[in-house]
Symmetry: D2
Subunit: 284 residues, 4 copies
């Protein structure tokens, strides 16, 4: 993979944004590998993502940033430029169920995850050996109703220590404190084992079984204070039938959970997800 810079922009829509940005990139000698635009015509908002070949620029990243600052100001842009040579650092929060954790660790080991897994933080010790095989630091931080504040303080301290960019709740089964949701807005990704907004909260497979749905699903979303209500990144479903017990759903659901989580996380790691209000633009 060649080193690329990813320029991510959102701003009020107006004529000339693309021309201005593309013109600036061209001045810098930038070779565009991939480009995506989206105009939200309801909210009159504009979204844009470019992948630029790093070696093509006749300037370094700081130079690029400085030059771009003026354009950004003119168009009132929210923007960032990231460097594929500095992959995002990930903390995996886990509990006892291993399928999502195992899947992400394996993808990373297989050099098939565009980020770095910095540590695993789990409220149970069960998955320590798995993390160890992949040579990822494992921290057992138990959570009880009484110790919840201390536990999350400890978790946040670890996240800070490892300079984590994104927290992934890989079937973590604990609800983050509101303050933590706020502090890490747009940087905590959860996998919920239903096709949201159906079956919010606990035991979604039980709920699905009771309702007699013919498809079950999984949803990867950013965590916000309201449970299972944050911006959705990715979803998928699989077919079930009357012959599926709750256990069958749980077993089959694991496959769709890990697929959806790994896909959603990949989008985030490659800066393909732009949050706007409670929705996402995903340049997949």
């Amino acid at each position: 993979m060649s080193r690329v810079f990813r320029l991510i922009i959102s701003c009020p829509d107006q004529v000339g944004i693309v021309a201005k940005v593309a013109g600036f990139i061209a001045e810098q000698g930038g070779s565009i590998i991939e480009a995506n635009h989206h105009t939200d015509s309801v909210n009159r908002w504009f979204f844009m993502r470019h992948e630029i070949l790093a070696e093509s620029l006749n300037n370094d990243l700081d130079g690029f940033k400085q030059g771009f600052e003026a354009i950004a100001r003119d168009f009132e842009m929210q923007w960032q430029i990231t460097d594929s040579a500095r992959p995002k650092k990930i903390a995996l929060f886990a509990s006892r169920e291993s399928h999502c954790l195992a899947d992400l660790l394996y993808r990373w080991h297989d050099e098939n995850l565009p980020g770095d897994i910095a540590c695993v933080i789990a409220n149970h010790p069960d998955l320590e050996q798995m993390a160890q095989w992949y040579e990822v630091p494992f921290h057992h931080v138990p959570v009880t109703p009484e110790t919840k504040p201390e536990a999350f303080a400890r978790a946040e301290a670890l996240v800070a220590e490892y300079e984590v960019d994104v927290i992934v709740l890989a079937r973590y089964m604990q609800i983050l404190p509101p303050q933590m949701c706020a502090d890490y807005a747009g940087r905590v990704i959860n996998i919920h084992h239903s096709f949201l907004p159906s079956f919010v909260g606990a035991k979604p497979y039980h709920q699905a079984y009771e309702r007699g749905v013919k498809l079950i699903g999984a949803t990867c979303h950013y965590v916000t204070e309201e449970l299972d209500a944050g911006p959705i990144i990715e979803q998928d479903v699989i077919r079930v039938s009357h012959s599926h017990t709750i256990d069958d759903m749980r077993r089959q659901g694991r496959d769709v959970e890990k697929t959806v989580l790994s896909r959603g996380l990949r989008y985030h790691l490659e800066d393909r997800v732009l949050i706007h209000g409670n929705k996402t633009v995903v340049f997949a």
Copy 2:
């Protein structure tokens, strides 16, 4: 297609049901084309469907029924046997949107719907010409808040007159009166334009757009008094993205609506759907 009898059974589970039923069919010389069983081990209930080649029986249908009665009593069966040579009669209830109506009429015309469309009943006159081309009687029965009781009395009279077996709400957009839901329990099929239980009620595509889901769906279900809460027969979804407006969703959703409705209706027409509580067993 050969003529077949379809024997549909549900009863409390116990050892020996299959043997008894299969033994009886064999005694009658019955050649089994297709057989399906399901044991609901939670509720200890048993479901069964056989397709028997009509010409293989050494008895007529009445003889078969009489003989079977004793077995049915012993096992406390709910049962019926239907004849593929007497396809179910369908009333299509429609409004202004044509996609589901057009799809079902075409499939019927193409000899690809195992039932007979007896009439179209619509609360707007728009689709009359379409029904006429297919030579299906069209009845315009307007519904206003004031005339609702008379309108549904008229609709029910038509249903009785045409000796209709199943009512299909092909995007009918009107809520049936509770009494009618009760009278036709298990015989009114609706298509709802969302992946239920998400987005019950009005304007599901608007709701889906607001929530920012990445898949939209449709649900074919039996109508009960509680809106969009009846037993689900079939569901499916298609992918959408941030670039889809509500209109795009509505347009693309039509394809999944008509697919799901035609599939669910086919199951019903072939007696593949067994209702138990608020859920279905579908021997697809």
Copy 3:
């Protein structure tokens, strides 16, 4: 739908194309509704599509074209700009099977096909009434081994007379003469009832049944002289099982055939398909 111009470009890849094109559009006051780029890094070729809001331009289409000519020359572009207010004219070639024809006619009638169906040309008279209901001229042009040259001369004359932009072989079942394939390169779309390159040629469902595949499919592609080997626009599949007879496959396959054809045709009508060698770039 607002009126838009669609600017389609392909050319050798180099730095600065996007900037130049976007700069020109901005100079013209053009508001970009949708933009797509693709760089084929193997062949070093660049592809681009813009939708520009017609009313935003401070120039008419001819003015735009003249101004753009210089850029196009500099970058050795193959390019065109089309106007959504002048939808492409379609000739549907049909035979006896009605499902693809019925589907396209209905979508057009439902104002859900971004083109105009100018005529139906069929080698059998069976579908005349269907075309008539939609008020589309129907021409019965029989084809026999002996009359093939005359028949296709007649068909081509009709295509010319109706000023047809694109020919759709809606299960036409006849092989076009090589000269016609060459003359209408990139303007004849076929639906083949298999997942190409599997099961080229006659009776693909028989072939699929014999091989025991677990999915059957359909392929929408441009017609070239070599049978079923032209550039693929769209494909899809559905699941089958051991219980499906060839007739079941044929029946179920119809749904995927018409879906794939209508999707592929839509892409073509909206100028989303760029042919390069024997492959397509589809800005879906």
Copy 4:
């Protein structure tokens, strides 16, 4: 999971098979958990699978077998009865690519594979550590053109030593000798990284890229002497576009390969696959 016996039968079709078999099971007190039948009306052949609750039988397995022998003879059945308490033993044949191996080992570790992985046999040493973590014996059996006969003799010796029931080629990349294909007919499962019969042989993703297909797939099949031509157990596909390089296809394809292999293997391990000629009946 309760212990079950699985009774698998195929025989020439005739009236009375189901009655006879179900009658016998009922005499033995057998509680049927799941039952599937299929009549191949083209070849007039009948297929049947029952899952019987072990504890419900008033006889042991040997008693059951003895009693059933007479029925089997009368109907010229090929049959077997297997015991879920004696899961099949699996040898995984691997090479350098880890994704299928890792997936199957993890599913087994997660108690989500209804079989026992007895050993890994690989022609490269790369995956030894992975096998070790799961505490599965790993045998490095290099294969070169010169040593091929000795290498496969060694592999067969290991298979015999571990009393292996089924060999899984988990991206093994070597062609088994014809004699071995014959000796283990119906007991060697391969995953091919294309939607067969498209792209037989080497480098299917290259072939898919060249042809410009819009979906790529994977096929799980029994190995026969003719390369990639054995009976198909399971297939699936995922969508690709013009923007996918061969490397992208290879990366994304891994997900469908491992899904299809694990599904197909599960069917085999649960005795859900009946081979007939070059096709399978899969009671999924």
